[in-house]
Point group: C2
Chain length 130, copies 2
């Protein structure tokens, strides 16, 4: 089950990577991003004047949890490199939403993104990466 | 043989990654950097005010070739993200040298780094990543 989720995570990461490449971005996928504890991002993407650090999440349920540690590392990494941090979340049957991490809710140990917040605050691909 | 070289490449990439982590850098290794044609870098490393894009090369011979296409992609990628490009080259029994790509020689299809140039123009780890 863990393996299945990991494979699915990698599949969605590749899906988004291809979408960005097709939109003219230069991208890198971060090695071991789904496995390493100190993971700081999944994809780094940029084109003239636009530089993004992207954390990719997918969920079958209408809410997704991310550990506070992971979010902190992600934001610090973005700051060091002058990248705009984006949470890319893909809910089943709803597709991709792209959010500023500030819209996530903090419950101490975890941060959460709900489908509700994603619909309200998230941007679609064409808006986020025009 | 190709596989052996690839494994060795990955080992040296990990070696340098660990050296950077130990020197207080936040790093990412680029997924598939040794396999994909459009590879733009191997390691991205930074700490406050310092941001590097690193291409890792190793050689048993006293000269290493890099395709012009790869160097161009590497430099464009560095520019988009405002990273300082560094060629990290490890010659057998000589260890690591870190060079600005401008010190490489262009012979049309390829760029070359010789051990001689690396000794003359390259910096050692402590100098390059102080």
């Amino acid at each position: 089950m863990v393996f299945k989720n990991k494979a699915k995570g990698a599949r969605y990461e590749n899906e988004l990577y291809d979408m960005l490449i097709n939109a003219g971005y230069r991208c890198i996928r971060v090695a071991g991003s789904g496995t390493k504890k100190e993971s700081n991002a999944d994809i780094v993407a940029g084109k003239k004047g636009k530089k993004y650090c992207i954390e990719v999440k997918s969920s079958k349920k209408p809410v997704k949890y991310i550990t506070t540690e992971q979010i902190e590392e992600f934001v610090i990494f973005s700051q060091i490199f002058g990248l705009k941090p984006i949470i890319a979340v893909r809910f089943n049957r709803e597709g991709w939403f792209f959010l500023n991490p500030k819209y996530m809710k903090n419950s101490g140990k975890n941060w959460t993104i709900s489908l509700e917040i994603a619909r309200k605050r998230g941007r679609r691909f064409g808006q986020a990466f025009s």
